[in-house]
Symmetry: C2
Subunit: 238 residues, 2 copies
Amino acid sequence: MAEMPVHTPAVAQEAEYKNLFFTLFPNLGEEQIRAIKSEIQIQTVRKGGFIYREDDTPQGFLCLLHGSAKVVTAGVTGRSQIIRLVKPIGILGYRALFAGENYRFSAKALDESVIGFIEKTAFFRIVRSNGEVALHILRAIAGELGVSNIRTVALTQKYIRGRLADSLLFLIGLYGLTDDGLLAVSLSREDLAQLSSMTTSNAIRTLSAFASEGVIALIGKRIKIVDRPRLEKISERG
Amino acid sequence: MAEMPVHTPAVAQEAEYKNLFFTLFPNLGEEQIRAIKSEIQIQTVRKGGFIYREDDTPQGFLCLLHGSAKVVTAGVTGRSQIIRLVKPIGILGYRALFAGENYRFSAKALDESVIGFIEKTAFFRIVRSNGEVALHILRAIAGELGVSNIRTVALTQKYIRGRLADSLLFLIGLYGLTDDGLLAVSLSREDLAQLSSMTTSNAIRTLSAFASEGVIALIGKRIKIVDRPRLEKISERG
DNA sequence: GCATTTTTATGCTCGACAGCATAAAAATTC
DNA sequence: GAATTTTTATGCTGTCGAGCATAAAAATGC
């Protein structure tokens, strides 16, 4: 966390963010909430900033309360790859924390983001003393491992078109669409490529193809979803 | 678990297997151990048999106590893929259990295997009442998620040779070598291919190439590791 | 405002690898 | 032990997609 803090938000907002944190841990008693709340620190990270870096040692439990983030690796031959995307309220960097390892990947903010943080010894004390909290985290991790496994199969077996369609559908599901059908996140083509395990050229090329087929429309760098059923068909075909 | 039981081992062995189960949960009190032990059921699965099937609903917490198992999916276009391999003492099928979903993959025994089982409501009661147990499971899952993520990157970015070398090194690490340098597990070429995300033809072809280069030796269907450093170089090169 | 960098866009070439075919060897069945 | 199935082995062809080049457009810096 050495370089994470950029500035501290207003105290009133901070309290609100701390409350947000607890949507992760429902069914807790009043005292438990108060005890945990005193341990939470709120910090903001500017767009493009690192939330943590590969090889850093985890200092605590992190939670994305506002904004969006990506977890990335440099890959084998320098080809970076997006391992996962996080939206509020989502947990972050917990794998290395629980495994007792250093971070294997880096986490970067895609937008100005707000992070909740609990120092690790305090966090483990909470988990140990409350099996219910542990179960909630287990549930979250289990869900994520499922996504990861499905993604591995899709990335290794589908063609470029299928993989890009997957990514677009995934982004729709995660971040949703604006009123006029635009993807709510504005990922660069490069990010989209790294999410779909392809070169930037091919991401751009395939987006163009989708656009000329009327499946999507390209408005500047933003993407409008025109024919979602078609997109799903492309994804299924593989 | 409907079709899992094949036969029940002798009572004496059963008690031993139950003890094995607890290597997963160290630092438990005597009474806790006794309480949990009464919940454990031991069952055996013959080679090639299903431990659970895709779309089944998890009935409890499973643990592989003897033998070996693979978790597989039919894949996108019917190309099956091995998601992970399990050796004793390892947990199995917990993802769907914690996520509250049906199984997304099937688990099959690679050898005659022994499974420990705790019915889910009993299991969740144990976890809820004991944060320490939950933390141990969290640790296990976190380690596995790490392996899964690294594997995804390797499978999508490395060439066939690198992927096969990865798989061989992975198998050495997981199951070890016999005294004469043979891989301790005897996976079929098809299994090896499904683990490395390639066709069976290419797995066989690349094994032949490795053999003619003196990296490995093929003794029937078994694989002898001749030059491990070389194998590691191939893996690193990608 | 202009210059520089980054992002988006498209075309071309080459190689890795899937898909298929064929066949030998080994395992299994009867 | 003969017949059938499965596993292992190898060759050939077509194509998906990486790698590279080029350039326009947009964003950023000064």
